[in-house]
Subunit: 136 residues, 2 copies
């Protein structure tokens, strides 16, 4: 259970003003035991449900992108009509249950080390992500 005060400090440390809206979003995103995979719309609805206060959709977009830029959220590469984000910002891989449209974390040891044996001159590797699609 992270305190409101800690969120305020975290925001300040990131030169983001600790507004009521951002604190609410932090509560919904980061006061959790396990990693949270979500779309903007998931989050928008959860904020209303969990805090009882409505935050405008524009602010949800703004805040998610601010957090993403600061490295507090990760974007998951899947083809979907909506973009998925993840509160687990460490390097890790995913199952994607195509039917349920749900992401599930894979630990690195569930996948094993991946060595890329090819390189492109002038480019360096930014990330290596495995997506395992699941069907019934």
């Amino acid at each position: 259970m992270i305190s409101k005060q800690e969120f305020i400090e975290k925001l300040r440390n990131s030169s983001l003003r600790p507004t009521k809206q951002r604190i609410n979003i932090c509560e919904v995103l980061f006061n959790r035991d396990k990693t949270f995979h979500f779309t903007i719309n998931d989050l928008f609805n959860l904020i209303k449900d969990k805090t009882g206060e409505k935050v405008s959709l524009a602010t949800v977009y703004n805040t998610v992108h601010a957090f993403h830029k600061k490295g507090y959220l990760k974007e998951i590469p899947i083809n979907s009509n909506q973009t998925y984000f993840d509160t687990n910002v460490t390097d890790h891989h995913h199952f994607f249950d195509v039917k349920e449209e749900k992401l599930i974390d894979l630990k690195n040891e569930d996948v094993g080390p991946i060595e890329i044996q090819k390189s492109i001159p002038g480019k360096k590797i930014k990330s290596v992500e495995v997506l395992v699609k699941l069907e019934d």
Copy 2:
């Protein structure tokens, strides 16, 4: 160099009527030495450029999805505003040059075998894809 006749047969064998539009799209997609990564818009423009005939955007969408469903095209999971497709339908992985917005094939031996050590009850693995993002 695949002949028009071969495309006609391929279409017929897939219970897709060999229309002028579909044949043109086949020429642009499949008369190539190396694998082709594209967005619908790329393809739409290339058809005009390469065949001199315009195919409506709706038909490009329809045809790409028909080919996708038949297994002649693969969809590549990346977060982009547009969906990427691939004429290489074998299991393989990708570099994605974030700056250039370009996909590059990785051979399976460039990545090595990937063993997924976790399973979800009632679900089976449909695909395993590695995406390696590149930066400068």
